[in-house]
């Protein structure tokens, strides 16, 4: 199975995609997802602790990811 992850801005550039299918089974933790994404091509351009949102809410690394969650890897924000 795999878990879809949304990418934006510099991360979309790094991975050459706006969405990744991460080979991992749900449920798992956000930290597991980040670890696998880091090993994918372009993953070396991620910072030490990238921001993650689940269902449009900021989450910590130890939050569990469920099937059907909307997961996004968020570059440093720069609005305004």
């Amino acid at each position: 199975m795999s878990i879809p992850v949304l990418l934006f801005a510099s991360y979309a550039d790094a991975f050459g995609a706006r969405r990744l299918d991460v080979p991992l089974d749900a449920p798992c933790q956000v930290a597991d997802l980040v670890r696998v994404i880091r090993s994918m091509p372009g993953g070396d351009r991620l910072p030490a602790a990238p921001l993650v949102a689940v269902n449009r809410t900021w989450v910590r690394e130890d939050v569990a990811v469920q099937v059907g969650d909307e997961i996004a890897l968020i570059p440093p924000v720069a609005g305004g």
Binding site: P75, P76, A78, G79
Partner: protein, 149 residues
């Protein structure tokens, strides 16, 4: 007399140019004695490099809900505050507004604090990114954790 109700009047991520006059009108009410407007605009120089334009991208659904949460929290702290917030995405020219925050209140301190609180939280929490396009032809995503322009 009870404290007037706070009100998040309008929060949106938009693609078209921001109509500042319309946003100011939305915040009006007979009890308003002070209005504070904050506008972020695209400038021609950043970190000493000549800029030709700016491209804004958002995780739109989350950006809008975070922006709304910020507005609700700010209204929760400041009784009687009326807030109107728009952030634009897409490609902007020098001088165009990327964000507009209107905070209206019976009194000036609350209005000014309201606008300031919203822009500061927006900068920290709302998933929006900007890519600067330089006169030299290249472009770069801005990372506020790396440079403090």
């Amino acid at each position: 007399m009870t404290a007037p109700r706070s009100d998040v009047l309008h929060v949106a991520i938009v693609n078209a140019p921001i109509d500042v006059g319309a946003l100011l009108s939305r915040a009006q009410a007979p009890g308003v004695g002070a209005v504070s407007l904050f506008l972020g605009t695209v400038r021609d120089l950043n970190d000493g490099r000549p800029v030709s334009g700016m491209e804004y991208e958002a995780y739109e659904s989350m950006a809008e809900s975070e922006l709304r949460a910020i507005a609700e929290e700010t209204c929760g702290r400041i009784a009687g505050l009326r807030l109107v917030v728009e952030h634009r995405v897409g490609t902007l020219d020098i001088g165009e507004a990327s964000v507009a925050i209107v905070a209206a209140h019976a009194h000036r301190t609350q209005a000014m604090d309201g606008a300031r609180d919203v822009i500061e939280a927006l900068k920290r929490r709302v998933p929006i990114w900007k890519r600067e396009h330089y006169l030299s032809g290249d472009c770069e995503w801005i990372d506020p954790t790396k440079v403090q322009a």
